[in-house]
Symmetry: C2
Subunit: 286 residues, 2 copies
């Protein structure tokens, strides 16, 4: 039975996880840590964590499950630091938005004899604005939670038990667990997550140039414009790491969309436009 | 006092208008007509209209206000037909999504001595799926309703009175009226309405090609993907007319976005990416 969890990184995802676990009936102890003191104290006040950890490494050592909920490069740094400090009876997991580098690091530093266990995870949940103050116990309800665990991961019986129990907690949060290969993961999210984000960013930046000085004109666009640019509020700090760790797949998706837009633009007055609408309608069929 | 209105085209917008007018206290008679019989009978059953008109021209003649709620080319056809059949005491208005051609036709055929009055309108309301069955008395609440009336429109006192009264009914629906020049209208909506639509269409069509055969993978994208592709369900029939009547402005907007996406793609690993996120954040500042 998992009785101690440390959440390193109590932003939107980490704090929502603490709230969600408690709502789902977790009665063990949850310690939180954040690089930004303000964030961890918000998490404490919201009841997402039971205590503030001063030293993240010490907190991890005293836990059975360590959740790294922070940007990707910070996750990779902590993975390296923690691997030498933890034992095969520790499970480390994460919420990083790309999984190839994290799964490679896990295969090198974890999941081998005498090494701690690592379960790479990626909940498809979040908001366009970050921070503990926006945390929500229901954030993970109905969300897909992807795991890119290497099938052959060699673990001690105790570590295997921790992995199994943690997967049950994720299901208890209300998430739908899907297992997927890490390389396939990164290709897939380039299409269904990273492409929508970068399109919303480019469109929002363009519209800020074109109509940003006329706030009342934003109202003209209505719900459609609001939805298509909502992700324009997303923070650079998180997306920089995604852009750096999934560059090729994102480049392919963006270039494919650029070509598709050019094709549509060149066919605004030809019957080929019907073909594009028909194919788009198919994607949205119910 | 307006006592008879005919709504020609009882799809989503026309039927919602009938429902909205009645909810706002209009107690006169509303007749409806649709090219598709099924649509007008749905409107009748929903209580949006009081009677089904068999002949749209005859219905228009017997009304004080004629609403053309249909695609743009159909609106232009009816404008030409009706102009010879109506008197200076008739007001014709519309909901067409582009206004340059409609305003030109209005200046030629209406708003002159011995001609009926025409008030070009464009409510920024709708849904990604069309049809009377989706009509909603609240559709226009909070929406911007644009008018591109030519300032110098010469009207009889009776016609001027009808225009004033109709504008009051639009405000009574809960819409926010904004007056704008027709050419500026078409440029503006190319950015805030047509660009988001064509991007959603292109992205949905592309994703149907890439991940359309794996329905469970759509869930991975979650809310962000759903919002960014919702407009992918929009009907070609409506957007064909927009593409044909606002081609140059839409081409400019699409090409600008293609260039912006290429710039972002080429800078996924450079500090310029921060600039794009910062500018996008500005568009979404609250």
């Amino acid at each position: 039975m998992i009785s101690r969890i440390s959440i390193l990184g109590t932003g939107l995802l980490g704090t929502s996880l603490g709230l969600g676990l408690k709502a789902a009936g977790f009665t063990g102890r949850i310690e939180g840590w954040s690089r930004t003191k303000e964030q961890v104290h918000i998490a404490l006040r919201m009841g997402a964590i039971d205590a503030v950890a001063v030293d993240p490494i010490a907190a991890a050592r005293e836990s059975e499950v360590v959740m790294l909920s922070m940007p990707i490069f910070a996750t990779l740094d902590f993975m390296a630091q923690l691997s030498g400090q933890l034992t095969p009876d520790h499970l480390v997991t994460d919420v990083g938005s790309t999984k190839r580098l994290i799964s490679e690091s896990a295969a090198q530093l974890y999941n081998k004899p005498n090494c701690p266990a690592f379960l790479p995870g990626h909940p498809m949940a979040g908001k366009e604005r970050s921070g503990a103050a926006l945390a929500d116990a229901n954030l993970y309800i109905g969300a897909v939670w992807l795991f890119t665990d290497v099938v052959a991961a060699r673990r001690t019986p105790r570590a295997a038990e921790l992995v199994k129990e943690w997967r049950n907690w994720v299901a208890a949060l209300g998430s739908r667990v899907i297992d997927i290969d890490p390389v396939r993961h990164d290709e897939l999210v380039a299409w269904v997550s990273h492409l929508p984000q970068f399109v919303a960013t480019a469109m929002s930046a363009l519209l800020e140039d074109e109509v940003g000085n006329a706030p009342e004109l934003k109202d003209v666009g209505g719900r459609a414009l609001r939805e298509m640019t909502r992700l324009g509020a997303s923070p650079y700090t998180m997306w920089r790491d995604i852009a750096h760790t999934n560059t090729e797949a994102v480049e392919r998706a963006l270039q494919a969309l650029e070509q598709r837009l050019a094709h549509l633009r060149e066919n605004l007055r030809t019957p080929a436009l019907r073909g594009e609408f028909d194919q788009a309608n198919r994607f949205r069929r119910e």
